[in-house]
């Protein structure tokens, strides 16, 4: 392999993929090094320009006044929910679709969990005139309908994946299978910092716009760096994006908040982990092309994960994040479904920001650890919650949350929808 990047993060990372994909991965590694790392042909300049003009960057770093008062801490929101498409996903999708253009590819494929990455890829595909096909688990299709429509409206094909439990893990496997057949003219736009090298490093570099901006915005607002940065972690792309430019600053604590789901315990017999906390409870293993932390049974069979938020519902995590957790640089923490749901309502009511359920996990951690995160805290608002409204209405109705608005009203108005 060429020299600049070896794709290893400590013991993690690597390229565990079928041979048919290796030439495509080598070609991609070469393109990553030339265009992304060396800005050949002004690639990164064009990427940044399009992220401004099409994406709406920079996103604000907003002081959250009510939360700050509640926690007696300066809380700042990095508003990736205001990025075009409503989530941080466009940073990566646009970067990769543009790269595919530079590489002369003719077609884009992608997997999606919550539908946010698929939506962002469909938008970037339309914007850059690239046909795209999105693989999505059928369970996720059912719980993320608005995003399925958005993808279709942007002109993407949406192909349901029916194997397994029909969530992100199966969608990734299926997209890899498509790629194995079509590598010669197709680029696979992976949706997080997962998969074989160079994906984890490349996706991080595109997402690093988040912390690049947040860092200078924080300097401007407070004249210093924050004491802590919080981000939810599924695969970990908004997480590494929010952390990257702070990793070398030892004074900044980094918290990756995973989905504790309904429980942290694991049912080996059934092969089910009722959570998606691969950093907190997973073991080292090889999944989807990389060595990383994985939810698996004693034999190494991958478990079915769970989270109320589709975007965190994944049995693996990016190798770089796993490494930073092992070395102690990043704290892996988790909150359960109930706490995330409460945090969803709290942020909506206190700040007028409806967060994605994924994002709500970070706010739930803030609520639980209000006192010990320092005087200035940045929370990455990875996405907005519009896509989750149906789920939230259902899940709230099942629980007794004092903070939630009266859901009976929703049931009456939204009767048809439910």
């Amino acid at each position: 392999m060429s020299s600049k990047t070896d794709g290893k993060f400590g013991e993690y990372g690597g390229q565990y993929v079928p041979e048919a994909l290796m030439p495509a991965i080598e070609e991609l590694t070469d393109a990553y090094e030339r265009y992304v790392l060396d800005n050949e042909d002004g690639f990164m300049d064009e990427f940044r320009r399009r992220m401004r003009e099409f994406g709406g960057r920079p996103t604000p770093l907003q002081p959250a006044e009510q939360l700050s008062a509640r926690y007696d801490t300066d809380v700042y929101l990095k508003r990736e929910d205001l990025l075009h498409g409503g989530a941080h996903k466009l940073n990566n999708a646009l970067g990769q679709v543009l790269l595919a253009k530079y590489m002369g590819k003719e077609r884009i494929i992608a997997e999606t969990g919550a539908g946010q990455h698929g939506t962002a890829t469909a938008m970037a595909g339309a914007h850059l005139d690239m046909p795209c096909e999105i693989y999505m688990g059928e369970t996720d299709i059912a719980r993320q309908r608005p995003n399925v429509f958005r993808m279709r409206i942007n002109g993407a094909e949406v192909t349901p994946v029916t194997t397994g439990r029909g969530t992100l893990k199966e969608a990734i496997s299926e997209t890899m299978r498509d790629w194995a057949k079509t590598v010669e003219n197709t680029h696979y736009v992976i949706g997080s910092i997962v998969g074989p090298h160079p994906f984890p490093a490349m996706v991080r570099d595109f997402q690093a716009l988040i912390s690049e901006e947040a860092r200078s915005q924080a300097q401007e607002a407070e004249g210093r760096l924050p004491d802590a940065v919080l981000a939810c972690a599924g695969g970990g792309s908004n997480t590494m994006g929010a952390f990257h430019n702070f990793v070398d600053e030892e004074s900044v604590d980094l918290y990756a908040v995973e989905a504790g789901g309904s429980s942290l315990s694991v049912d080996e017999e059934a092969g089910v982990a009722p959570n998606s906390a691969s950093l907190s409870t997973g073991e080292e293993g090889v999944l989807h092309g990389a060595r990383t932390r994985v939810l698996q049974d004693g034999d190494g069979q991958i478990m079915e994960s769970h989270s109320v938020s589709a975007g965190l519902d994944y049995a693996g995590v990016g190798p770089e994040l796993a490494h930073l957790v092992d070395t102690g640089r990043v704290d892996a923490v988790n909150v359960d479904d109930d706490a995330a749901l409460e945090a969803f309502h709290r942020l909506s009511q206190l700040e007028g920001v409806i967060p994605a359920l994924e994002t709500a996990h970070a706010f739930a951690y803030l609520e639980e650890h209000r006192g010990d995160l320092g005087e200035s805290v940045v929370v990455n608002v990875s996405g907005r919650g519009d896509k989750d409204l149906e789920t939230v209405i259902e899940e709230t109705a099942e629980r007794d949350l004092s903070i939630a608005p009266d859901m009976d009203l929703f049931r009456e108005i939204g009767g048809g929808m439910l």
């Binding site: 390229q15 565990y16 993929v17 048919a20 495509a24 893990k169 299978r177 590598v183 034999d299």
Partner: protein, 285 residues
């Protein structure tokens, strides 16, 4: 007999998923393949994320896993098999990497992870070699070392897209035979036999190990053409897993399914032998 000796005459190399659709039937299916003329048997140890597999084999894997197939059980399966031909274990790297042996096992540091305990156990069960579709040569050194230590062969898959340095790296590490992937994509039976086969065979033409071609071979006629084109063997998976799947769908007596597998094996083996007769004799210079 070593793995490469099994290719002295054109070899038929069938693949089945161990434990598909259940332990007992699967044992009889594998044995039927040997009766039908198999020279080497590739036996899948099912993994939950088989990214190199098409729908037919994926479904076989799901059937086997739901019937309780697991790593230790797989080794018991191999030990129970009454066959004389070499068995090659085909699986994904995570299962090899996670295996720590049965608890209380003598030898081997307790809880030792990595390829060594798996390879040691495989050798003990009488397995002759391994094929690991998600392990490219760049990541294979620990497994290669363990295979050398315990006398197993490590088979690599050469894809239609494999060229240059990558071919050299594989050539250095491969043993037993080289698995020549006939066309791009995942496994699955096809009606056409790809033209990419000739080109792929040519790229490994001067390798010392036997060349076995797989992906999409379905009939005796395919086998004949592939061997005529210069292959030392044909690997057939999905066309056989299809027979197992039909047996499940139609609720057939496992003995009938086994008989059909044996008949299919005979057809494929006969095709391979017929192909050898059509080969252009080597040119003399």
């Amino acid at each position: 007999m070593t793995l490469s000796d099994a290719f002295d005459e054109p070899a038929f190399v069938p693949y089945l998923v161990a434990g598909d659709p259940d332990f007992g039937s699967s044992l009889s299916y594998v044995e039927a393949l040997e009766r039908g003329g198999a020279d080497v048997i590739e036996l899948g140890l099912p993994f939950s994320e088989p990214i190199a597999e098409g729908p037919t084999i994926q479904e076989g894997i799901v059937r086997a896993l739901s019937a309780g197939m697991a790593t230790e059980r797989y080794f018991e399966f191999v030990e129970r098999l009454d066959v004389d031909v070499p068995i090659v274990c085909m699986t994904y790297y995570n299962l090899i990497y996670q295996y720590t042996g049965t608890s209380g096992d003598a030898g081997g540091a307790a809880g030792e992870r990595g390829p060594r305990p798996f390879v040691e156990r495989a050798a003990g069960a009488g397995i002759a070699g391994l094929v690991v579709p998600d392990l490219p040569p760049e990541e294979a050194s620990p497994l290669r070392a363990a295979c050398d230590e315990f006398g197993l062969d490590l088979v690599f898959i050469v894809a239609p897209t494999t060229r240059g340095d990558r071919l050299d790296r594989m050539r250095e590490q491969v043993s037993g035979y080289v698995y020549v992937q006939a066309r791009l994509g995942t496994t699955g039976a096809r009606d056409d036999v790809s033209e990419q086969t000739d080109a792929s065979l040519e790229r490994v033409g001067d390798w010392e190990v036997p060349k076995a071609v797989g992906f999409g071979i379905k009939t005796g006629e395919h086998a004949e053409r592939i061997v005529a084109a210069g292959a030392d063997g044909v690997i057939v998976g999905s066309a056989l897993v299809d027979i197992v799947a039909e047996g499940v769908a139609e609720d057939r007596d496992p003995a009938d399914v086994a008989a059909e597998l044996a008949a299919k094996a005979e057809e494929l083996k006969a095709g391979a032998l017929a192909g050898a007769k059509q080969r252009t004799p080597p040119e003399h210079t």
